[in-house]
């Protein structure tokens, strides 16, 4: 069982009245032929857990990539805690460190051990010496073991190369790395797609619990049946926001419209 009693620990909440963790205004993103995102407006407050739904190719992954700064939009503004992406590299890194992304393809480093991968999330805080040592020695075993334990993984996995793990284990290692980063804003791109139903529900519960205030969560999803624990749901269709509302107000007709084939 995964522990459900998590507290949003020392994430360093801002002292001033907290602005939105993420604010997107008028985002346009060009693609081949048609636009991938168009006039996106989104505001994520601390404590909000938002599900992003839509058909394949609706722009969910693009939206998350813009939100975590990987892709620069062609128009519009991205604000993290009220500030645009910083020009200074150091400032920018500090901003990025507060955004944790759970990638669809996990992006674990196959050749490295689980522990080295988990420590990869701390590189923002570490300097060169520690980053190099991490490639040679097991560092910070305590916190790494704690992160694994939260995900109900055996500590013995710490010095196993990621390449030798099973699919479910890798998925959980990726989430453990996210916990190691201690982000404020969690962006997750279909993290439940390839898991068996029981594990999917457990991991969803863990992520929902982890992202109580002052944190927040945006997760793209394929399955409307898992929307239960979320606060808000955003429907995306052909790069546009079709609806953005509390989950309990979502009607079946809206879902039908969202997934209806175009034309």
């Amino acid at each position: 069982m995964i522990r459900q009693t998590l507290e949003a620990d020392s994430a360093g909440s801002p002292s001033h009245p907290s602005p939105a963790l993420l604010e997107l205004q008028g985002i346009d993103l060009a693609g081949k032929g048609q636009r991938r995102l168009e006039a996106i407006k989104l505001n994520i407050q601390p404590g909000e857990r938002v599900a992003l739904i839509g058909a394949s190719g609706a722009g969910k992954s693009s939206l998350l990539a813009v939100a975590n700064g990987l892709i620069k939009p062609n128009a519009g503004t991205v604000l993290w805690q009220g500030s645009p992406p910083a020009k200074s590299r150091r400032q920018r890194r500090r901003q990025q460190a507060r955004i944790g992304t759970l990638w669809q393809d996990l992006r674990l480093i196959e050749e490295l051990t689980v522990q080295q991968n988990l420590n990869g999330a701390r590189l923002a805080q570490w300097g060169w010496p520690k980053a190099l040592l991490n490639l040679l020695l097991p560092l910070e075993t305590g916190p790494c073991a704690a992160a694994l334990e939260r995900l109900d993984l055996d500590q013995a996995l710490l010095d196993r190369p990621v390449g030798s793990l099973s699919g479910g284990q890798r998925q959980r290692v990726a989430i453990a790395r996210l916990l190691r980063q201690e982000p404020l804003l969690v962006l997750a791109d279909e993290p439940l797609a390839s898991l068996d139903p029981r594990l999917a529900e457990e991991l969803l519960a863990l992520l929902l619990d982890y992202t109580r205030a002052p944190r927040a969560l945006v997760m793209s999803l394929h399955r409307p049946d898992l929307l239960g624990g979320f606060d808000r749901v955003v429907g995306l269709r052909a790069g546009r926001v079709l609806f953005d509302q509390p989950v309990d107000q979502l009607g079946q007709d809206q879902l039908t419209a969202l997934y209806a084939s175009s034309l």
Partner: protein
């Protein structure tokens, strides 16, 4: 198909033979069985090997440091991560094409003219072109790695440097190790070759004993070189097996930290070794700064320069390259097919290839001159024979790891062993092998200078002549033309390789052959 080149060569051979030397060839062959065991000879051979190995080791170490540094500096991925733009990488890449296009022998001879006969000359001569080549391979390897992990670390706020090392270092390392160990073998071959041209070490001994027809002493040197080469190839093969794990998912894997520790320990152990080797050979980098007084240069003789028969020089070089490449590329599978039925024959072929690899082409050329007239075909035979050894080994390695199921099916269906090998295994290997052959042709073009001493072989022999007669204007023009030709050849062979590999099934084997095995 490329083996068809054998027909005109065989037909042309009778006209080349000048007789007279057969007796010498016979003596040479007989001497193989009874090398000189005179302690004085053995001692000079061993000390010669020591010098050659030292030049190879230091040159290799220098080229790896240069190559990895410059390789990182010419990687688009690195610049994009650090600066957000890949353009500086392209600039550095283009600049590095120049030192790369000039063969280590030319570097050696040029430096020899500039600073005199110093032990450091051979080391630098190996380090410069090898370094530029390693840089290209390293940057290609880095840029071929998927950048997903790198983006993930950057998006989590990791600084550019540590993110690059953490995300790209581990996947790069096995490829880099495999390649660098291969480079060490190349360095030993090059150091021997440089010796043949008078830069000291075993190569010099080999040439002197050959020219004075002391075949028994020649074979003492050859057997020692052979033993050293086999030892090195075996040791490196074992290390590659341990570290570079191309089939890493099938075996139990070492924890990565452990591997890193071993590597760091090895690297640290290498430093005092290198220092000791350098001191024992009295290699003094300072010697590079003391240039010799050059003979007066005089005004360039434009008329004479234009008077050189450029089309014929370039044409001969290209013909030489084509012949040698076809011999090597076509010869290897043909030989394997011929001996496929006899296990003993395979062993013999393997032995011949080993000899071909370590036997410097100019010495083969000299040996061939006993019975053949100087000219392009003689040079092509010498060069082709050497590259046959290199290609053959690669083909054999690939053939042994290739899937045997189709072959077994053919054999159990009553097909002969040769047909089965041809249809069952070679057909799958053909594309990656030809792709590597295209790369090898490019190397042969660069190497064609080393057989220049048999005369009338195009740019190579003209270059050596210009060097020895201090004709600087000619020399510069020739080097420039040669470099341009090499760059053109490199571009062509790259295109041919890409085309061959793109249409091939994108399996690991073809990438290994086409990419890492330069």
């Amino acid at each position: 198909m490329p083996a068809l080149v054998l027909i005109p060569v065989l037909l042309g051979l009778p006209q080349l033979v000048h007789g007279g030397g057969w007796e010498l060839i016979g003596q040479f062959a007989l001497a193989a069985a009874q090398p000189s065991l005179d302690p004085a000879v053995i001692q000079s051979v061993i000390s010669g090997l020591g010098t050659t190995a030292a030049m190879a080791l230091l040159g290799w170490a220098g080229s790896m440091v240069l190559g990895v540094g410059l390789g990182v500096a010419s990687s688009r991925t690195v610049w994009r991560t650090v600066l957000g733009h890949g353009a500086p990488a392209d600039l550095i890449r283009k600049l590095l094409a120049i030192p790369r296009s000039i063969h280590e022998l030319l570097w050696g001879l040029l430096l020899l003219q500039l600073v005199g006969l110093e032990p450091v000359v051979a080391v630098v001569a190996i380090a410069i072109p090898f370094g530029a080549l390693v840089a290209r391979v390293v940057s290609d390897l880095i840029d071929a790695l998927p950048t997903g992990n790198l983006n993930a670390l950057s998006a989590a706020g990791a600084p550019a440097g540590p993110a690059l090392v953490t995300a790209l270092g581990p996947p790069l390392l096995p490829q880099l190790l495999s390649y660098s160990s291969y480079r060490l073998e190349c360095a030993l071959r090059s150091a021997t070759l440089l010796g043949v041209f008078g830069l000291g070490g075993l190569g010099t001994e080999l040439r002197l004993t050959l020219q004075s027809l002391n075949f028994r002493e020649l074979w003492s040197g050859l057997w020692v070189l052979l033993a050293a080469m086999v030892l090195l190839e075996t040791l490196l093969g074992w290390l590659r097996h341990r570290w570079s794990m191309p089939n890493r998912f099938t075996k139990k894997v070492m924890a990565s930290g452990r591997q890193g520790q071993e590597l760091v320990a090895l690297g640290v152990a290498l430093i005092p070794l290198l220092v000791w080797v350098a001191q024992s050979q009295q290699i003094d980098p300072g010697a590079l700064l003391h240039w010799q007084a050059l003979p007066p240069m005089g005004p360039p003789h434009w008329a004479e320069l234009a008077g050189l028969n450029w089309p014929s020089l370039v044409g001969n070089t290209i013909v030489l390259t084509g012949l040698a490449a076809a011999l090597a590329v076509g010869g290897a599978p043909l030989l394997l097919l011929l001996v496929a039925a006899w296990p003993l024959g395979k062993l013999v072929v393997r032995g011949i290839w080993l000899l071909a690899r370590l036997w410097p082409p100019p010495l083969t050329a000299l040996l061939l001159l006993f019975v053949l007239k100087p000219g392009v075909p003689t040079a092509a035979l010498a060069l082709g024979f050497h590259n046959l050894g290199i290609l053959g080994r690669l083909l054999l390695e690939c053939a042994e790891t290739a899937d045997r199921a189709p072959e077994q099916a053919l054999i159990s269906g009553g097909t002969g062993p040769r047909m089965a090998l041809l249809y069952g295994r070679f057909s799958a290997l053909a594309r990656p092998y030809l792709a590597y052959g295209a790369y090898r042709a490019d190397v042969i073009l660069r190497e064609s200078v080393v057989v220049g001493l048999v005369g009338a072989t195009g740019l190579g022999s003209q270059l050596l002549e210009a060097l020895s007669s201090f004709a600087w204007d000619q020399l510069l023009a020739l080097v420039a033309v040669y470099a341009a030709l090499t760059l053109l050849g490199e571009d062509l062979s790259d295109r041919a390789r890409h085309q061959l590999l793109e249409t091939a099934h994108g399996d690991d084997q073809s990438q290994e052959v086409g990419g890492a095995w330069r």
